[in-house]
């Protein structure tokens, strides 16, 4: 089959690799019909994520048709499914609590050591995201082996377009969880740092959860325009002083809840020196500790901080004093995708959530290397690129 393989910094290629087969009884194989490039894929592309090996197949946002099932899969051939980016077993202590991204059972034991040392505990395995997270081949390919297929993939009703439901795999639940973690109360003003896909879904989710006002902060005009479409007020931090603007807009009280969605919803387990490289690079536009610092300083006393943005190592100058003195609450973590999928599928079917607005480009899987370059170089215009193995020419 053809698959997008990593070969080094800014070097991804369409390789011919072996088709995947059923290995474990709960596996299924899906034929990919749509797969997206995620902001966190850019961290791999830019060579910041350790434990990558040449030939690793990327992609953790994907959906497709079930073509093979293991003896214990509950899926049927021909079903269309969206696959969560986190690999979770459904039967351990954490899955029992719906903390799917804490499931240790998809991560091969030998790959658990790094996170054990770095975080004190092993984390969930992910598709297409380095060997620290399991070394699983990803979904930017014609076929994917999906473990625990009786738990993860959600079946999509016939007649519903891929583009409507694809983002159930990651960024929609991630934005929704971010808003949920902000514990929004009616009448609240919620400030969102970062209008990438996660931030934009957090904006929509916050309104659905009863926020009276949402204030979106970014520096890409196109992205702020999208936030505005959903009713958010905007702050372009290149044009206006964010803290001063927030204080004036909220009558000096500050936002009731703040969401840090900067960091392009990276899922990586970065080590400390890698974080420093990322901070030093220019593509993030704003350094990540800066957004969480600013969010904490701006948040009202007794308010809530939600942090979907990924931090992998250690952060300097974390405003712990402000955090304590103002009595803030922080909720964060990788997304428990499986927990949110059914309700969010319903919300999409009932047209409560718009997903397709995000897609700026659709192209054949074979053009994936071009897609990566475009996604990296044109962040204002390229809001989301969806790759289609079945497509022959770029639309």
């Amino acid at each position: 089959m053809k698959a997008l393989a990593w070969h080094g910094k800014h070097d991804v290629r369409m390789d011919t690799v072996d088709d995947p087969e059923i290995v474990n009884p709960r596996d299924c194989i899906i034929k990919v019909t749509s797969t997206a490039i995620c902001g966190s894929d850019l961290h791999l592309y830019d060579g910041y994520i350790p434990t990558m090996k040449a030939g690793d197949v990327l992609g953790h946002e994907f959906m497709g048709e079930v073509v093979e099932v293991g003896a214990k899969s509950t899926l049927k051939k021909g079903q269309r499914v969206v696959v969560p980016f986190t690999i979770a077993c459904g039967s351990c202590f954490h899955c029992g609590k719906h903390q799917y991204s804490a499931c240790p059972n998809g991560l091969p034991a030998d790959n658990q050591d790094i996170a054990r040392e770095l975080y004190g505990h092993e984390m969930a395995a992910l598709f297409g995201y380095s060997h620290m997270t399991g070394g699983y081949a990803g979904g930017q390919a014609e076929y994917v082996r999906v473990p625990f297929s009786d738990v993860g993939p959600i079946v999509i009703p016939d007649g519903v377009e891929d583009d409507k439901v694809l983002f159930l795999s990651d960024i929609l639940p991630t934005g929704w969880q971010a808003a949920e973690y902000a514990q929004i109360e009616p009448g609240d003003t919620v400030a969102v740092w970062g209008c990438g896909p996660v931030g934009l879904f957090a904006v929509q989710s916050a309104f659905l959860m009863g926020a009276e006002r949402v204030i979106a902060i970014d520096h890409f005009p196109r992205r702020l325009e999208l936030a505005k479409r959903f009713g958010a007020e905007t702050i372009n931090f290149e044009d206006s002083a964010t803290y001063d603007a927030l204080m004036e807009m909220t009558g000096g009280i500050g936002p009731d809840a703040v969401i840090d969605a900067v960091g392009l919803e990276a899922h990586g387990l970065f080590v400390d020196n890698v974080i420093d490289q990322i901070k030093a690079s220019t593509f993030l536009g704003t350094d990540r500790p800066h957004s969480i610092r600013q969010a904490i300083i701006a948040c009202r006393k007794g308010g809530r901080v939600s942090m979907p943005a990924v931090y992998g190592g250690f952060v300097d100058k974390f405003p712990l004093g402000a955090f304590m003195e103002k009595g803030l609450t922080l909720k964060t973590g990788q997304t428990h995708v499986q927990h949110y999928m059914p309700a969010l599928l319903n919300a999409i079917m009932e047209d409560k959530i718009d997903t397709e607005f995000l897609i700026s480009h659709r192209m054949p899987l074979m053009d994936a290397p071009k897609g990566y370059k475009m996604f990296k170089d044109q962040q204002n215009e390229a809001t989301k690129i969806v790759l289609k193995p079945g497509m022959t020419a770029t639309a």
């Binding site: 059923i22 709960r26 059972n105 034991a109 030998d110």
Partner: protein, 191 residues
């Protein structure tokens, strides 16, 4: 000063008396170093104990165990991978057995790596079963052997942690996690 002054497990002692404290309750303890690891498995104690007690099951999740030949109810012969492609072997004898609670063993004289230890099983209600493995061993070549073993990631503490993680996966999910793309690759990669 007499230790311990707390309730922490003896293998976590900072005072160099770990092995003695960890093995004092063992019958016929062997080994100058001791490690312990614990894991919580979301299955009933009866199920977890029964699977473990059938030693012929152990190579299915213990990476370095090449084979276990069960000779009788008490005695088994173990062949285990050692660093740099070497193999070590010993006969293990069960010294204590309390169903759904404890299995303790010691190696018979002539073992390549004299060892002893115990596996404890504890019912933790809705969370399932806590399995704690305490292993005392004489590292081949003493301290240098231990350093070499660590380099090859065969250090017993890490190995025990990985093996317990695989045991948990097998009991909870019925499978052992692997990124392999096909059964042949799975076999080549090993556990």
């Amino acid at each position: 000063m007499t230790y311990p002054r707390d309730d922490a497990p003896p293998t976590t002692s900072k005072h160099g008396d770990a092995t003695e404290a960890a093995t004092e309750s063992l019958i016929d303890p062997k080994g100058s170093s001791a490690v312990a690891q614990a894991v919580t498995i979301n299955r009933s104690i009866a199920e977890v104990y029964a699977y473990f007690r059938d030693f012929s099951n152990l190579p299915s999740f213990m990476e370095n165990v090449i084979s276990i030949e069960v000779k009788d109810d008490r005695l088994s012969h173990w062949t285990v991978k050692a660093p740099a492609g070497a193999k070590v072997a010993w006969d293990a004898r069960i010294t204590q057995e309390e169903p759904d609670r404890l299995i303790a063993w010691t190696s018979e004289p002539g073992a390549d790596v004299p060892n002893s230890g115990r596996i404890e099983f504890r019912d933790v209600g809705a969370r399932g079963t806590v399995v704690t493995a305490t292993i005392a061993y004489d590292p081949p070549g003493g301290i240098i052997g231990k350093v070499i073993a660590k380099m090859f990631q065969r250090e017993p503490s890490i190995q025990a942690r990985r093996d317990l993680a695989r045991f948990k996966q097998l009991m909870e999910t019925g499978e052992i996690a692997t990124p392999a793309m096909n059964p042949k690759q799975f076999e080549e990669m090993g556990l």
